[in-house]
C-alpha cells in the first residue's frame, strides 16, 4: 500500500493519538487495512477512522459479553492483536459493561452491574456470546453466579440490539458439542430461535474478523452482508482452499504423505494428511494470526487445517480423514469432456484451394465433354 498521506480534511486526530499512543499515520494505516480486508474503499476507511477517533462520540454503545462453555480463546486472541493496542481501541469504542475476564471487579457486584446495564440500555446494547450453551437437564452443566448459561443468554438476548456469537463454540457448539455431546452443548443461535445471531466462528477466530465486523457496524450502523449461516461474507465467503498458498501444489499433485517427509519439508499440499481447507470457509490464509509475519497459521506451519470454524467438520470429522473438495474455482481448470488438443478449424486458404481444385476438375470435365461432342473425328491437334 502506498504510503501517501490520506486526505482526512481538517479532522483532529490528536485525541486518539494520545489515547492509543500511535501516530495519525499509523492509525489511518490500520483503518485502511481493516477496510481493505472488508473489501471497502479508502473513503470507508476514513469514515471508520473518523468514527473511532471522534473525541465526543455519540454515547458509546454498551456491550454485554457472556462466557459459556469455552476456553476464552476468542477473547485471548482478540487481546493478542498488536496494532495498535487493540484492547484500548475496542474498549474505547464500546462501553464493555460486562466481561468476566476483563472486568476489574468480581463477584455479585459485577452481576448487579450487568443487570443494571441491561435494564438501562434496553434495546441498545450489543450482546457478544463466547462459548457454547448446554441445554441438557435444564442447562445445569454451565452455571455462572448460580444462573445457567442458558438462562443468562436468553435473558440478555431479550433486549439486545444485536447479538454476535464469537468463536466456534458460540457459533455452533465447538469442542464440547463433539459426539456424544453429553451436555447437549449448542451454539447461541440454536437457543435463540427467532433472533438473528451473527456468527464469527473459529477456534480461535481471527480477531480481525470480529473487529472488522464491529467497526463496520459502528461506522455504518448496519451489519456487513452475511451468508446463510449468518457469517460475514467478507471473512467467511471463501474456502480456505481457494486462498491457500499451497494451492499450486494441490493443483499439480504434489502432496506431503507423512509428517517430515520430503513433500512436507518442501511445503507441499497437506490434503493427503487430512487438511480440511477444501471444505472450510474462513480467511486464515489471507490474514493469518498473531501479526507476527507470514506463515503463521496451521497450514503455514505445516499442520493440516482441521476445519475449526466449520460446523460438521471441526471436532466432528477425524483430524486426518480426507476432506471433500467443495468447489472448484479458478485458478483450477479442467478440460471438458469434448475438449481436444486440436488445431483451428477450416482455414480460408485451405477452403479456397480445395474449392479451386474441385472447380478446375469439374470445369475440365465439362470442357472436355463439350469438345468431345464437338466432333467425332480426330482433330489432329494436341492440347496436352
Amino acid at each position: 500500500m502506498a504510503d501517501h498521506d490520506i486526505d482526512t480534511g481538517d479532522f483532529d486526530f490528536s485525541f486518539i493519538e494520545k489515547r492509543l499512543g500511535v501516530t495519525r499515520r499509523t492509525f489511518l494505516k490500520f483503518c485502511t487495512g481493516v477496510a481493505a480486508s472488508l473489501g471497502l474503499s479508502t473513503q470507508a476507511a476514513v469514515a471508520m477512522a473518523k468514527t473511532i477517533a471522534d473525541p465526543k462520540p455519540k454515547k458509546r454503545p454498551p456491550v454485554i459479553w457472556l462466557h459459556g462453555q469455552e476456553c476464552t480463546g476468542p477473547s485471548e486472541s482478540l487481546l493478542r492483536s498488536e496494532q495498535p493496542s487493540l484492547e484500548h481501541l475496542i474498549l474505547d469504542l464500546i462501553s464493555l459493561d460486562y466481561h468476566q475476564t476483563l472486568d476489574t471487579g468480581a463477584g455479585h457486584k459485577v452481576e448487579e452491574m450487568k443487570k443494571k446495564s441491561m435494564e438501562e440500555n434496553k434495546g441498545k446494547y450489543l450482546l457478544v456470546v463466547e462459548g457454547a450453551i448446554p441445554i441438557k437437564d435444564g442447562g445445569i452443566y454451565c452455571k455462572i453466579a448460580g444462573e445457567t448459561m442458558l438462562h443468562a443468554t436468553k435473558e440478555a438476548a431479550e433486549h439486545a440490539a444485536a447479538i454476535v456469537a464469537f468463536g466456534s463454540c458460540a457459533s455452533w457448539g465447538g469442542v464440547q458439542s463433539a459426539s456424544p455431546n453429553p451436555t447437549e452443548a449448542r451454539g447461541a443461535q440454536a437457543v435463540l430461535p427467532g433472533k438473528t445471531v451473527v456468527n464469527i466462528p473459529g477456534c480461535p477466530p481471527n480477531p480481525a474478523n470480529f473487529l472488522g465486523t464491529v467497526l463496520y457496524f459502528v461506522t455504518f450502523g448496519k451489519l456487513p452482508p452475511l451468508d446463510e449461516q449468518n457469517r460475514p461474507k467478507w471473512a467467511y465467503g471463501r474456502l480456505i482452499h481457494e486462498n491457500c498458498y499451497r494451492r499450486p501444489h494441490f493443483d499439480a499433485g504434489r502432496f506431503a504423505t507423512e509428517f517430515g517427509d520430503e513433500g512436507h519439508r518442501k511445503g507441499w499440499c497437506l490434503y493427503k494428511l487430512g487438511c480440511k481447507g477444501p471444505e472450510t470457509y474462513n480467511n486464515c490464509p489471507s490474514l493469518e494470526f498473531n501479526n507476527v509475519g507470514g506463515g503463521v497459521w496451521p497450514v503455514g506451519v505445516g499442520h493440516p487445517c482441521f476445519g475449526c470454524s466449520e460446523q460438521g467438520i471441526g471436532f466432528n470429522k477425524p483430524m486426518f480423514a480426507l476432506a471433500d473438495v467443495k468447489t472448484h474455482t479458478p485458478p483450477n481448470a479442467f478440460p471438458e469432456i469434448a475438449d481436444r488438443e486440436q488445431k483451428q478449424g477450416i482455414s480460408p486458404t485451405a477452403a479456397a484451394i480445395g474449392g479451386a481444385a474441385a472447380g478446375v476438375a469439374v470445369g475440365a470435365a465439362l470442357m472436355a465433354g463439350k469438345k468431345a461432342s464437338g466432333g467425332s473425328d480426330s482433330s489432329g491437334s494436341q492440347d496436352a
Partner: protein, 379 residues
Amino acid sequence: MSAYKPLGGRVLTPAFLFFAVIFAISLYFMVERFTDGMGAVANINGGFPWGIWVVYDVIIGTGLACGGYALAFTVYVFNKGRYHPLVRPALLASLAGYALGGFGAIFDMGRWWQFYNILLPWNWNFNSVMLEVGLCVSLYIIVLIIEFSPAYLEKIGATGLLKVLDKTLFFFIALGVLLPTMHQSSLGSMLIIMGYKVDPLWQVLQFQPLLAVLTAIIMGYSIVIFEASLARVGFGGADETPLLAVLGKVSVWLMIAFLVIRFAVLAAQGKIGLIFAGDFASLMFIIETILFVLPAVIIASPTMRQSPSKLLFAAVSMLFAGALYRFDAFLFTYDPGPGFSYFPSAPEIMVTLGVISFEIMAYLVVVKTLPVLHRSEQA
C-alpha cells in the same frame, strides 16, 4: 510390329507446366513434412488420424486407378479382345495411380523409415486388414510394372524379354485381377473395426468388402471412359465411343447391382429410416445415390450411349459417386466422438494436389515417349 506408338510431340506444353508448378509448390511442403513432422503440415489429429493423404491419395486414388483391373476382367476374363486398345493407357494410369498411392502411403507413415517392418514375415499380424492392404498393394504395383513393361520393352527393342513375358503374362494378368479384388475389398473391410465412428449408413460391417470391390470396379470402368475421352480430346485420335459405350452400360448395370445390394443390406440392418433423417449424413447419402443413379438416366438408351459427351458425364458422375462414397465413410460422416473435427490445411491440400499433378505429368510424358496409345488411334 507393335500396334502401339508413342504420341510424340512437345512434352513442355502449357498444361504440363501448369501441373509442374503445382508439383513444385507441393515439394516444399513434402520436405517440411519430413523435417518438422506431419503436424507441421497436416491437420490430422487424435480423433482423425487419417486425413486426405490417406483417404484421397491412397484409398480414393487407388480406386481411381482401377482402370487396369476393370479392363483385365473385360479383356482377359470375359475375353473381349476388342478392348485391347484401351488396355495400355489404362494400365499406365493404373500404374501411375497405384505407384503414387504407394508413395502417398509411405509419405503418410508416421515411422516411414521403418516401413520395411510390414514386409518382415515375423512381424505379420494376420488379423490385420491393414496388413492385407499393404502387402497386396505392394505386390500389385510390381504386377502393374510387369503388365506395363511391354510398352517399355518395345521401345528399347528387348524382343527376347518380350517373348518370355508373352508366355508368362497370363499369370500376372490373373494376379492383376485377383490382387485388386483382394485389396480393394479390404479397403472396405478397414471400416469394420472403426465401429461406431463410421456413420451407420456406411457401417455395413460384414458387407464392407463386397460394396467396396463393387465401387472399385465401377470406378475402374468409369476411369477408362474418362481417360479415353480426355485422351481423344487432348491428343486427338480415333473415336473409341462404341467400345466405351459398352463399358458404360456394364458399369451402369454394376452400379444398379451395387445400389440394390446396398439398400438391401441397409434395410436388413434396419437403417433405411436414417436416409430420411434430414441430417448431414442423410444429405451426403442422397447426393451419393443421385451421383450413382444419374448415369443410368444420362446413358439409358443405346443412342444416348453413342454420345461421347454423355458418356463422359456419366463416367464423371460415377467417379464422383465412388470417391464420395469413400470420402463419406472415412471422413465426411466419420465421427470419433464429441469435440473432434478435421478439415485439411492448405499445405496438406497442396501436397495432395502435387501428387495428382505429378501423376498427370508422368502420364503425359510416358504417353508421348513410350508406345502406349494404339496405333490406329493416331492420325
